[in-house]
Symmetry: C2
Subunit: 215 residues, 2 copies
DNA sequence: CGGAAGATTGAGCGTAGTCAAACCGAGTGG
DNA sequence: CCACTCGGTTTGACTACGCTCAATCTTCCG
């Protein structure tokens, strides 16, 4: 029912269209999941950090809808879906975890629709950074200082803006003394103030990790 | 376990923050679900037609994340969640339907992220119209001719553009002899051609309705 | 009939996109 | 150890798509 996976940066965990057999929990490293249009335009749908769950989008009709790619050396724990289903029929707690997880996936993507449909570029980037900050804190790391694991293009795609715009907006934040940016390292100079000025963008909290451990 | 609800245009089925108790299937009429930012900007997250299911976003943590509003006189069938859970533990088919439904909700919103993040205004509107066309067909109505139940503002919000842009793009389609627009009535003049020219935007298919009937 | 909400259209503007060049850092191989 | 390459990042100049604001028109109800 459980198995380990090891990926190098750039390798895929699964691809759009593959048969959905397992969901994964991230043990270390990080992933992005993305969709692609016929003409090559792609949209990053999410970034996945340790403790989080990937692959639920395959549940709709047994085929993955996105492609999941490692951003760095990454280890996951694959959980086979069919026995998980059976287990959730016997154990109410498993059923509940599974439903909460899926519910969170729904509300996370809905919240992201709000971001993509209604926010300006600086608001999007602020929401993104605050989200990463919170997720870092949730895993026991500093919320005011962390490294981005993804490229500017990935960030831009995720936020519906261009990589160049990501650069310019970061420069803007820097100029306003809101944060320090050194390549992929981010440090907030006054996180509460930053959060306050973009509080409208601060609205969503991460899901609790799947109960139970990797075998 | 089941109960009927009747709404007039503009009335809400549930509001963000309310306790999640039930999911609804739409029996007649139509609804929109939306999220709102602190400063009043809103994002329409979806439109819901007869046969479709509303309210799954409450599953994340027991509170609805969106507000669901009737676009016209509407009837729904409410299904109480707790007994539904119990039922899904006994009947594999119910469990399966529920999971597929949630999976579809995930992939629908992911697909919409792609639209909001990567497509131009005409592409978005084309995707929207083609989606409505397909859903009309799925319910046994003409895919080439139908009435919009929502305002231009709602469409714009849903697509991440302004109502004025919706008008202008519709006028553009009209000028290209792709379709006729009379207020809220849409008629495709050559649906296959239209679908072909915007095939990149055509990528998602609707969920099967929830098995079983309203008591 | 009158009022309100929605739809349409136009003019002008601004945010973010495009294109292109320079820069940087990490690997690789001579 | 340095030169070279290659992806990724940064910056600038210019453009354009879609937004804003405002006026007008239409439709729908009370």
């Amino acid at each position: 029912m459980f198995s380990r996976h090891r990926l190098l940066a750039g390798e895929t965990l699964y691809r759009k269209g593959e048969a959905f057999q397992v969901v994964h929990t991230v043990r270390s490293g990080s992933l992005k999941s993305s969709m692609t249009l016929a003409d090559g335009r792609t949209q990053v749908c999410g970034f996945h950090l340790p403790g989080e769950v990937v692959g639920l989008d395959g549940m709709a009709d047994g085929l993955y809808q996105t492609t999941s790619t490692a951003l760095e050396d990454t280890q996951t724990c694959a959980v086979v879906y069919v026995p998980l289903l059976a287990l959730s029929q016997r154990l109410r707690s498993v059923q509940q975890s599974l439903h909460r997880l899926m519910g969170h996936e729904v509300s996370r993507t809905q919240w992201h629709m709000l971001l993509l449909g209604s926010m300006t570029a600086p608001e999007r980037l602020a929401a993104f950074l605050l989200d990463l900050s919170r997720r870092a804190a949730a895993r026991g790391y500093s919320p005011i200082e962390f490294n981005l694991r993804m490229t500017r293009s990935d960030i831009g795609s995720y936020l519906g803006i261009r990589a160049e715009t990501v650069c310019r907006v970061l420069r803007g934040f820097k100029a306003m003394n809101l944060l320090e940016v050194d390549a992929r390292h981010i440090r907030f100079l006054d996180l509460p103030a930053f959060a306050r000025s973009y509080s409208a963008t601060l609205n969503w909290r991460p899901a609790a990790p799947l109960a139970g451990r990797c075998a």
